[in-house]
Amino acid sequence: MGVNRQSPNWVLLSLMLVSVVAWLFLDALNVAPNRIVPGTPYTSLEVMGGWPALLLGLPLLGVAVLAWQPSRKGLQCSLAVVVAVLMLLPLWLAAATVGFVDADAPQARVGIGSALWLLLFLLLLAVIELRTRLGVSRAKGWLLFMPMLASWWLALTLWLEPLALVREYRVRSDQFASAVYTHLMLVGAAVGVSLLLAAVLVLVMRRQPAVRRIGFAALNFLQTIPSLALFGLLLAPLAWLGSRIDWLGNMGVSGIGWAPAFLALLGYSLLPMVRNIFVALEEVDAGVIESARGMGMSRRQVFVQVRLPLALPVVLEGVRITTIQAIGLTAVAALIGAGGLGTFIFQGLGQAAMDMVLLGALPIIALALVADALIGALSERLRLGGAQ
């Protein structure tokens, strides 16, 4: 503290400098009269006379200066500035939109340009970097994003109707809700069922070394098949099953749709799940197990009271990885008609409508982040073993 010269925080410094350059020189907005005509790009300096853009860039330069010789105070200050800028961004966007779009062009749509996306991304990274440097706890860290979310919500409900993303959403709000639902159901089912299956499989594997070898080999092999190929492989047998066995057919089992998607997801989820549960159980400190047995605990008692609770955080780590992976893979499953958020991505790609792609991609990223945070927090709690 204090007297010593601190070495510059290069991460923060470069994040800030790149942010400022991107913000001032890349396209911030893209305005089109309707969905078909390509829009005109504008940099932030061309919007509202440029002053607001400069005013928004100045604090970031300030943070860059503070990063040159970081002190705890300076870092706290930087965090406040970055959070504030993140909060101001949607408001700036709202002001720009209101200013740009005439009342007599009801079809006009505003696209978010690369400058804004990049700024958003870089500033979020900066928040994470500062959070780590300052040792902010996980729970408090999430609170940092609240002002930003609140201001986005405000801007979206009040002023951002002309935003292309919003327009895409408005025409498909029902479809969107059902896509989110399908996506969550597929992920939930795949993760849930794979957790159960993996638990059973691991219990057998721990008893039988032969099963262990074959099991891991098979799962590893499954993992190497590209997802689209796996969907393809499942197509024929499932179509056959669906047509031959009535009740399966009635459930909707066929070569395309949810059934092959679910099976493929299950296949991919099984390996990380099995591997984590297996390692978690094996890795429990041998001394602890030895003393548990030495004290006279029965096999069951050792497993239920010692091995399992100590393995649980690592098991949850497996659930976390599997869930995030499944959220991403489910997007691909849209290609075989499984539904879910991937539908928007592929339709959007087909129509060259980037905003529709975003309508699918952004919620997928959000889902992954939320799942990551929730399960991570749970596992951290368990790791503390109830202490503190």
């Binding site: 400190d285 001394g287 602890v288 030895e290 003393s291 548990a292 047995r293 030495g294 004290m295 006279g296 605990m297 029965s298 008692q301 010692v306 609770p309 100590l310 073993g385 109830g386 202490a387």
Partner: protein, 313 residues
């Protein structure tokens, strides 16, 4: 009483323990010493059947260990290991209460017993009961380990290098406490260590193992005086053997009560060891010490001649 008759254990082609016979009388502390890998831990674990023996017989109070259910057997035997093996997700008091709870003691009795043991081992209840193992120092954790092993008041205690991971000062403290504890509780203890000083300080009977066999056993003094072969001799300290023996004898045993003429200038407590007395003499270059009791009152005299074991002039 623990008896081993021709006990053998093989792991694959390797014979870890080779036809050893051993008898540990009730209330005796038997130290197993030897270089690492010589089969000490294996011998210990065969007694509570964490490892099953391949040949020979192991008896507790005259009954073969195989005649007991293994879980019941282990609950009757305390077990302490070097890494403590405390459950990291349980508090200190829950760890200590493990065996009584396994034995389905009523709640209050478990609680009382846990508090009694924490006091016995110098762990203030208010401070430590709700701590988790990772919040303890090495010495505190091993105290909890010993308390846990004693919880159901077993007659037999198996200890596998319990103080091996501790710093020298903590280790010496725990050895002293261990000796005091044993003087009170008279457990039948098998104590594995590779630290000869620890073995000499604690053991009633010393068993030296080498490559799965017992090469010599007897009281520490017997082994010091008549090591069976050069291996035992070097294990016992070679040229340092004289000092090691002197460390086992108290000043009080050799002093001349009610010193004559003048008090010697340097003092030594009567409970100190002869090796410490010798050290004081060397340091101050004197050949006479005044022996004092706990209140620092002179009660005798120790001359170099008497220290060496010669009769008084």
């Amino acid at each position: 009483m623990i008896e081993l008759f021709d006990v053998t254990k093989r792991f694959g082609d390797e014979t870890a323990v080779n036809a050893i016979s051993l008898r540990v009388a009730k209330g005796e502390l038997c130290a197993l010493v030897g270089t690492s890998g010589c089969g000490k831990s294996t011998t210990l674990r065969m007694i509570n059947r964490l490892i099953e023996h391949d040949g020979g017989e192991i008896h507790l109070d005259g009954e073969p260990v195989r005649s007991f259910d293994e879980v019941t057997l282990r609950r009757r035997i305390g077990y302490v290991i070097q890494s403590t093996g405390l459950f990291p997700h349980w508090t200190v008091s829950r760890n200590i209460g493990l065996v009584p709870r396994l034995l389905k003691w009523p709640k209050e009795r478990v609680r009382d017993r846990v508090e009694e043991l924490m006091q016995l081992l110098g762990l203030p209840v208010a401070e430590f009961a709700d701590k988790y193992p990772r919040q303890l120092s090495g010495g505190q954790a091993q105290r909890v380990g010993v308390a846990r092993a004693l919880a159901a008041d077993p007659d037999i205690l198996l200890m596998d290098e319990p103080f091996g991971a501790l710093d020298p000062i903590t280790r010496a403290t725990l050895q002293d406490e261990m000796r005091a504890l044993q003087a009170r509780l008279h457990k039948t203890i098998v104590f594995v260590t590779h630290d000869m000083d620890e073995a000499l300080a604690l053991a009633d009977r010393l068993v030296v193992m080498h490559q799965g066999r017992i090469v010599q056993q007897g009281s520490p003094i017997d082994l010091l005086h008549e090591p069976a072969n050069p291996f035992v001799e070097s294990l016992l300290g070679g040229l340092d053997r004289g000092l090691k023996e002197a460390a086992l004898i108290q000043v009080g045993e050799r002093m001349l009560p009610f010193g004559p003429r003048l008090l010697a200038s340097e003092r030594i407590p009567y409970g100190a060891s002869l090796s410490q007395a010798l050290s004081v003499m060397l340091w101050h270059r004197v050949d006479r010490l005044t022996v004092v009791d706990e209140e620092d009152i002179p009660i005798g005299e120790l001359s170099l001649r008497r220290l060496l074991g010669a009769k008084a002039p």
